[in-house]
Amino acid sequence: MTVTTTPALAARGVTLAYDQAVVFRELDLSIEPGRVTTLIGANGSGKSTLLKAFGRLLTPSAGGIELDGAPARSLPTRQIARRLAILPQKPLTPSATSVRDLVSRGRHPHQSLLRPWTEQDAAAVADALAATGMTELADRDAASLSGGQLQRAWIALVLAQQTPIILLDEPTTFLDLSHQLDVLHLVRSINAERGATVVMVLHDLSLAGRFSDRLVAVGRGRVLADGPPWEVLTPTVLRDAFDLDARVIADPCTGSPLVVPEDRLTYLS
């Protein structure tokens, strides 16, 4: 798609590989600011790998990532952390740490030896706790939270970082449907209220279609489809990207694309 403004994030000729196994070769992908973009793809398609590269957790073996038009490699990691926050798939929740303490760590990139904890940091943490509905649980031990509460606490940490760009790697995994909806509504409201650019990886295609402005389907080392949900979630793309026979109907609640897999007759017979 055509991008007139400077992309918030851009991959330029990026090759990503683990040891010798190449996941993406010379990939170009731009992320427009202020929108919710979701990466979808089959297991092992490399969508999390791509997100990690955008979040500088993985260094491309060729090409580079641009952050607001400037090469990310030339920026100090602390400075990147004030502009881009990433929530990886399996963060470690430390013991004997209250939710408030956990969320406070999100202020790390804003602090230094000469600039310790300030009122501004406390306000950012209180704000993040309120936005995620975690204020009442702030003094609870993080290790004692339920899966949904813990995920909200981690999202609060990312919010406390107060970055214009937020990357989320499968933020709804291990959550029941109701809690998945909670998290995704939260993501949309962050986008709407703060104008944050959100890039996330999701497994559930219908939820991806409902909550995203743009979907990017990846597989076989490249982008297979890219565009608004109705253009990407088509039977052709689903067969190509997921090896899935499915119909796409309008979601009766929102009108967004709803993916309904075909009945697999071989399974019944």
Binding site: T77, Q79, A81, I86, S95, D101, S104, P116
Partner: protein, 345 residues
């Protein structure tokens, strides 16, 4: 550590640290007073102020003060080193003793005693200079090898501990071999030193460990908030702007050099690096052992154990045996508690 507290836990850390610091001075004075020729607390304070009798000055300034100070510094170095490695590996078992660093330092020091002290008859003065260097080389070399062998696109704490246990066994074997083929006098010096003892300590042994603690403690304290972030895992830390590799290098270098300094001054005093940070972590109720408090409690443990060995216990048992007798049951207790199998994380 002493940064403005931002939560109740932060306040508790502050209270534990201040309480430990407040206990340190009276404990040091008591330790100087205690011993075969009993001195009153008033005599000790008067002598320290420069108004004691010549015999009191000899006992306090030349014999007991260096011993007590050295014990406090060694304990602080070990307590801080333990807090750093336990947090780094997110596992209380990951102490310099278990990771092989202590054994490496001990091998370096024994080699200095047996080889240099024996063959070349180097004087005691040269030995006090050479011993810390040899211990540092042994500790750094071991740390590099253990870290390198545990590295497989990242360091897993259990692999680190297993490799460390293997390294400890190998290094202990080499140390025993050196002692077995040494001259009798050097062998007995080395063997006595290997237990971990403060009995031969003079002012000359105080300086290297004083310099190490004075230089490395502030460096370690600058990493304090980064250590808290590192508990969230490498990916989250990177996301929060931590230069993970550089941070690790600083932590490991501080811990290894502190251990080397402590071992070269008093021999490998077991379990101090393991026990002290864990005592503090339980008192403060935090996710990781607070650094400054771990150092102060380490000092209290070593000075306390040494004073106990000089006064209550018969025949002056070396301090390393006292700390081992206290520390080993604590280790077993910690290992058998299911909840702590997850350790720090």
């Amino acid at each position: 550590m002493l940064a403005p507290a931002r939560s109740r836990r932060g306040t508790r850390v502050l209270v534990v640290t201040v309480a430990a610091l407040a206990a340190l001075l009276p404990v040091l004075v008591l330790a100087i007073a205690a011993g075969s020729s009993q001195l009153g607390l008033g005599d000790v304070v008067r002598t320290l102020m420069g108004a004691g009798t010549p015999s009191q000055e000899l006992i306090v300034l030349e014999l007991r003060l260096p011993r007590v100070l050295c014990g406090a510094l060694v304990g602080a170095a070990l307590g801080l080193a333990g807090a750093l490695t336990q947090t780094f590996a997110r596992n209380p078992l990951a102490t310099p003793d278990i990771l092989g660093v202590t054994s490496g330092a001990a091998l370096g020091a024994v080699a200095a005693i047996v080889l240099a002290g024996g063959s070349y008859s180097v004087g005691a003065g040269a030995l006090t200079l050479g011993l810390p260097a040899a211990a540092a080389i042994g500790a750094l070399g071991t740390a590099a090898v253990v870290y390198g062998l545990s590295w497989r696109s990242g360091v897993d704490s259990y692999r680190l501990i297993l490799v460390g246990i293997g390294a400890t066994a190998a290094l202990t074997g080499v140390t025993s071999y050196l002692i077995a083929r040494a001259q009798l006098t050097e062998a007995s010096t080395a063997a006595q030193w290997l237990v971990g003892s403060l009995s031969g300590v003079s002012w000359a042994s105080v300086w290297p460990v004083l310099v190490a603690v004075a230089v490395l403690t502030p460096i370690a304290l600058t990493q304090s908030s980064t250590l808290s972030v590192s508990l969230l895992g490498d990916d989250v830390s990177t996301g929060l702007g931590v230069a993970v590799q550089r941070h690790r290098l600083v932590i490991v270098a501080c811990a290894v050099l502190l251990t080397a300094a402590a071992v070269s001054a008093a021999g490998p005093i077991e379990f101090v690096a393991f026990v002290s940070p864990q005592i503090v972590r339980r008192l403060a109720g935090t996710a990781r052992p607070p650094l400054l408090a771990s150092a102060v409690v380490g000092a209290l443990v070593v000075v306390g154990a040494d004073t106990l060995s000089r006064t209550v216990l018969p025949g002056e048992v070396p301090v390393g045996i006292v700390t081992a007798v206290i520390g080993a049951p604590y280790l077993i207790w910690l290992l058998t508690r299911r909840k702590d199998r997850e350790m720090l994380t």
